[in-house]
Protein backbone atom coordinates (compact mmCIF):
# COMPACT_ATOMS: atom_id res chain seq x y z
CA UNK A 1 0.00 0.00 0.00
CA UNK A 2 0.99 3.64 -0.42
CA UNK A 3 1.41 5.58 2.80
CA UNK A 4 1.69 9.36 3.00
CA UNK A 5 2.68 11.63 5.89
CA UNK A 6 1.84 15.27 6.59
CA UNK A 7 3.00 18.21 8.77
CA UNK A 8 5.34 17.16 11.62
CA UNK A 9 4.77 13.49 10.90
CA UNK A 10 6.29 14.08 7.44
CA UNK A 11 9.22 15.99 8.94
CA UNK A 12 9.96 13.32 11.52
CA UNK A 13 9.67 10.48 8.99
CA UNK A 14 12.00 12.33 6.62
CA UNK A 15 9.71 11.59 3.66
CA UNK A 16 6.24 12.47 2.43
CA UNK A 17 5.37 9.12 0.95
CA UNK A 18 6.51 5.52 0.73
CA UNK A 19 5.32 2.11 -0.36
CA UNK A 20 5.07 -0.46 2.38
CA UNK A 21 4.18 -4.10 2.69
CA UNK A 22 3.34 -4.59 6.35
CA UNK A 23 3.92 -8.07 7.79
CA UNK A 24 1.18 -10.50 8.74
CA UNK A 25 -0.32 -9.48 12.07
CA UNK A 26 -0.52 -5.80 11.11
CA UNK A 27 -4.25 -5.73 10.32
CA UNK A 28 -5.46 -2.34 11.55
CA UNK A 29 -4.45 1.33 11.38
CA UNK A 30 -3.43 1.22 15.04
CA UNK A 31 -1.25 -1.83 14.46
CA UNK A 32 0.35 -0.17 11.44
CA UNK A 33 1.22 2.88 13.57
CA UNK A 34 2.73 0.58 16.20
CA UNK A 35 4.71 -1.28 13.54
CA UNK A 36 6.07 1.98 12.08
CA UNK A 37 7.03 3.18 15.56
CA UNK A 38 9.06 -0.01 16.11
CA UNK A 39 10.60 -0.10 12.60
CA UNK A 40 13.28 2.57 12.92
CA UNK A 41 14.34 5.74 14.75
CA UNK A 42 12.31 8.03 12.48
CA UNK A 43 9.17 6.00 13.09
CA UNK A 44 9.81 5.97 16.82
CA UNK A 45 10.01 9.79 16.79
CA UNK A 46 6.97 10.33 14.54
CA UNK A 47 4.70 7.85 16.29
CA UNK A 48 5.84 8.15 19.92
CA UNK A 49 2.32 9.37 20.84
CA UNK A 50 -0.23 7.38 18.80
CA UNK A 51 -3.09 9.36 20.38
CA UNK A 52 -1.86 12.44 18.46
CA UNK A 53 -2.04 10.67 15.09
CA UNK A 54 -5.05 10.82 12.74
CA UNK A 55 -5.58 8.59 9.70
CA UNK A 56 -7.42 8.61 6.39
CA UNK A 57 -7.83 5.39 4.44
CA UNK A 58 -8.62 5.77 0.74
CA UNK A 59 -9.96 9.25 1.39
CA UNK A 60 -12.05 8.52 4.50
CA UNK A 61 -11.10 9.56 8.02
CA UNK A 62 -10.89 6.45 10.19
CA UNK A 63 -10.04 5.43 13.75
CA UNK A 64 -7.18 3.19 14.92
CA UNK A 65 -9.39 0.11 14.76
CA UNK A 66 -10.02 0.41 11.00
CA UNK A 67 -8.98 -2.65 8.98
CA UNK A 68 -6.23 -2.47 6.35
CA UNK A 69 -7.81 -5.04 3.99
CA UNK A 70 -7.79 -3.92 0.36
CA UNK A 71 -6.37 -0.50 1.27
CA UNK A 72 -4.66 1.38 -1.56
CA UNK A 73 -3.63 4.56 0.24
CA UNK A 74 -3.35 5.52 3.87
CA UNK A 75 -2.47 9.00 5.14
CA UNK A 76 -1.11 9.56 8.66
CA UNK A 77 -1.04 13.09 10.13
CA UNK A 78 -1.51 15.24 13.27
CA UNK A 79 -4.86 16.83 14.20
CA UNK A 80 -5.69 19.44 11.55
CA UNK A 81 -5.21 23.19 12.11
CA UNK A 82 -6.63 24.97 9.04
CA UNK A 83 -8.90 27.98 8.88
Amino acid sequence: MRISYFAWVRERMGTGEERIDPPAGVATVGELIGWLAARDAAGALAFAEPARIRAAVDGEMVGPGAALDDVTEIALFPPVTGG
Binding site: A56, G59, F77, P78
Partner: protein, 146 residues
Amino acid sequence: MIRVAVHSEAIDVAAELAAHDAGGHGASASFVGRVRGEGGLTELFLDHHPVLTVSGLEQLAAQAAERWRLAALTLIHRVGGMAPGETIVLVLASSPHRGEALAAVEFLIDRLKTDVMLWKRETFADGRVGWVEQRGSDHERAEKWG
Protein backbone atom coordinates in the same frame (compact mmCIF):
# COMPACT_ATOMS: atom_id res chain seq x y z
CA MET B 1 -23.40 28.11 -7.61
CA ILE B 2 -20.75 26.46 -5.43
CA ARG B 3 -17.10 27.40 -5.90
CA VAL B 4 -14.42 25.55 -3.90
CA ALA B 5 -10.68 26.04 -4.43
CA VAL B 6 -7.32 25.32 -2.78
CA HIS B 7 -4.29 27.15 -4.16
CA SER B 8 -0.94 28.69 -3.25
CA GLU B 9 -1.53 31.99 -5.08
CA ALA B 10 -2.87 35.00 -3.17
CA ILE B 11 -6.66 35.05 -2.73
CA ASP B 12 -8.15 38.02 -4.63
CA VAL B 13 -10.97 38.84 -2.22
CA ALA B 14 -12.48 41.63 -4.35
CA ALA B 15 -12.54 39.50 -7.51
CA GLU B 16 -14.00 36.50 -5.64
CA LEU B 17 -16.71 38.65 -4.07
CA ALA B 18 -17.58 40.21 -7.45
CA ALA B 19 -17.90 36.75 -9.05
CA HIS B 20 -19.86 35.40 -6.08
CA ASP B 21 -22.29 38.34 -6.08
CA ALA B 22 -22.85 38.29 -9.83
CA GLY B 23 -26.18 36.54 -9.26
CA GLY B 24 -27.58 39.54 -7.38
CA HIS B 25 -28.50 37.67 -4.20
CA GLY B 26 -30.40 39.36 -1.39
CA ALA B 27 -27.88 38.71 1.38
CA SER B 28 -24.17 37.95 1.14
CA ALA B 29 -22.21 37.04 4.29
CA SER B 30 -18.44 36.71 4.39
CA PHE B 31 -15.52 35.59 6.53
CA VAL B 32 -11.98 36.58 5.65
CA GLY B 33 -9.23 34.88 7.67
CA ARG B 34 -5.83 36.62 7.62
CA VAL B 35 -2.37 35.76 8.90
CA ARG B 36 -1.79 37.36 12.30
CA GLY B 37 1.69 38.84 12.72
CA GLU B 38 1.74 38.36 16.51
CA GLY B 39 4.89 37.46 18.41
CA GLY B 40 7.26 38.29 15.58
CA LEU B 41 5.73 35.83 13.13
CA THR B 42 7.36 36.15 9.71
CA GLU B 43 5.78 33.28 7.77
CA LEU B 44 2.79 31.00 8.05
CA PHE B 45 3.02 27.82 5.98
CA LEU B 46 -0.03 25.64 5.27
CA ASP B 47 0.58 21.98 4.49
CA HIS B 48 -2.23 20.12 2.67
CA HIS B 49 -3.14 16.84 0.97
CA PRO B 50 -3.09 17.05 -2.85
CA VAL B 51 -6.53 15.39 -3.16
CA LEU B 52 -8.26 15.15 0.20
CA THR B 53 -7.99 18.81 1.23
CA VAL B 54 -10.14 20.05 -1.65
CA SER B 55 -12.51 17.09 -1.37
CA GLY B 56 -12.94 17.84 2.34
CA LEU B 57 -13.88 21.42 1.52
CA GLU B 58 -16.28 20.18 -1.18
CA GLN B 59 -17.98 17.90 1.35
CA LEU B 60 -18.42 20.79 3.79
CA ALA B 61 -19.83 23.00 1.03
CA ALA B 62 -22.30 20.27 0.07
CA GLN B 63 -23.37 19.91 3.72
CA ALA B 64 -23.96 23.65 4.00
CA ALA B 65 -25.97 23.66 0.76
CA GLU B 66 -28.16 20.86 2.13
CA ARG B 67 -28.63 22.53 5.48
CA TRP B 68 -29.48 26.05 4.31
CA ARG B 69 -31.16 27.48 1.23
CA LEU B 70 -28.14 29.13 -0.40
CA ALA B 71 -28.02 30.96 -3.69
CA ALA B 72 -24.21 30.85 -3.86
CA LEU B 73 -21.27 29.53 -1.85
CA THR B 74 -17.57 30.30 -2.22
CA LEU B 75 -14.96 28.48 -0.11
CA ILE B 76 -11.29 29.15 -0.87
CA HIS B 77 -8.28 28.13 1.21
CA ARG B 78 -4.74 29.18 0.51
CA VAL B 79 -1.84 26.76 1.06
CA GLY B 80 1.95 27.10 1.08
CA GLY B 81 3.88 30.04 2.53
CA MET B 82 2.30 33.40 3.33
CA ALA B 83 3.16 36.61 5.18
CA PRO B 84 1.36 38.49 7.99
CA GLY B 85 -1.73 40.29 6.70
CA GLU B 86 -2.28 37.94 3.76
CA THR B 87 -5.58 36.12 3.37
CA ILE B 88 -5.59 32.41 4.34
CA VAL B 89 -9.26 31.60 3.92
CA LEU B 90 -12.32 33.16 2.32
CA VAL B 91 -15.89 32.00 2.97
CA LEU B 92 -18.81 33.63 1.14
CA ALA B 93 -22.44 32.54 1.40
CA SER B 94 -25.49 34.13 -0.12
CA SER B 95 -29.19 33.57 0.39
CA PRO B 96 -32.42 35.51 -0.08
CA HIS B 97 -32.26 36.61 3.60
CA ARG B 98 -29.38 37.17 6.00
CA GLY B 99 -30.06 34.44 8.56
CA GLU B 100 -29.15 31.52 6.34
CA ALA B 101 -26.11 33.22 4.81
CA LEU B 102 -24.67 34.16 8.22
CA ALA B 103 -25.30 30.69 9.68
CA ALA B 104 -23.69 28.97 6.69
CA VAL B 105 -20.53 31.08 6.95
CA GLU B 106 -20.16 30.33 10.66
CA PHE B 107 -20.76 26.60 10.09
CA LEU B 108 -18.16 26.46 7.31
CA ILE B 109 -15.38 28.24 9.17
CA ASP B 110 -16.03 26.29 12.39
CA ARG B 111 -16.05 22.92 10.67
CA LEU B 112 -13.13 23.49 8.34
CA LYS B 113 -10.90 24.04 11.37
CA THR B 114 -11.52 20.48 12.54
CA ASP B 115 -12.57 18.47 9.47
CA VAL B 116 -10.27 19.46 6.60
CA MET B 117 -6.70 18.27 6.01
CA LEU B 118 -4.71 21.46 6.56
CA TRP B 119 -1.80 22.08 8.93
CA LYS B 120 -0.23 25.40 9.97
CA ARG B 121 3.48 25.90 10.61
CA GLU B 122 4.74 29.18 12.08
CA THR B 123 8.17 30.75 11.58
CA PHE B 124 9.28 33.62 13.82
CA ALA B 125 11.90 36.37 13.44
CA ASP B 126 14.04 34.85 16.21
CA GLY B 127 14.33 31.57 14.26
CA ARG B 128 11.68 29.54 16.07
CA VAL B 129 9.66 27.21 13.84
CA GLY B 130 6.72 25.14 15.05
CA TRP B 131 3.54 23.40 13.98
CA VAL B 132 0.35 24.86 15.44
CA GLU B 133 -1.50 22.62 17.90
CA GLN B 134 -5.23 22.07 17.56
CA ARG B 135 -7.27 23.98 20.15
CA GLY B 136 -9.99 22.40 22.26
CA SER B 137 -12.17 25.48 21.73
CA ASP B 138 -12.12 24.79 17.97
CA HIS B 139 -13.60 21.35 18.60
CA GLU B 140 -16.30 22.78 20.86
CA ARG B 141 -17.32 25.25 18.16
CA ALA B 142 -17.32 22.56 15.46
CA GLU B 143 -19.34 20.12 17.55
CA LYS B 144 -22.19 22.52 18.22
CA TRP B 145 -23.27 22.00 14.59
CA GLY B 146 -23.90 18.29 15.20
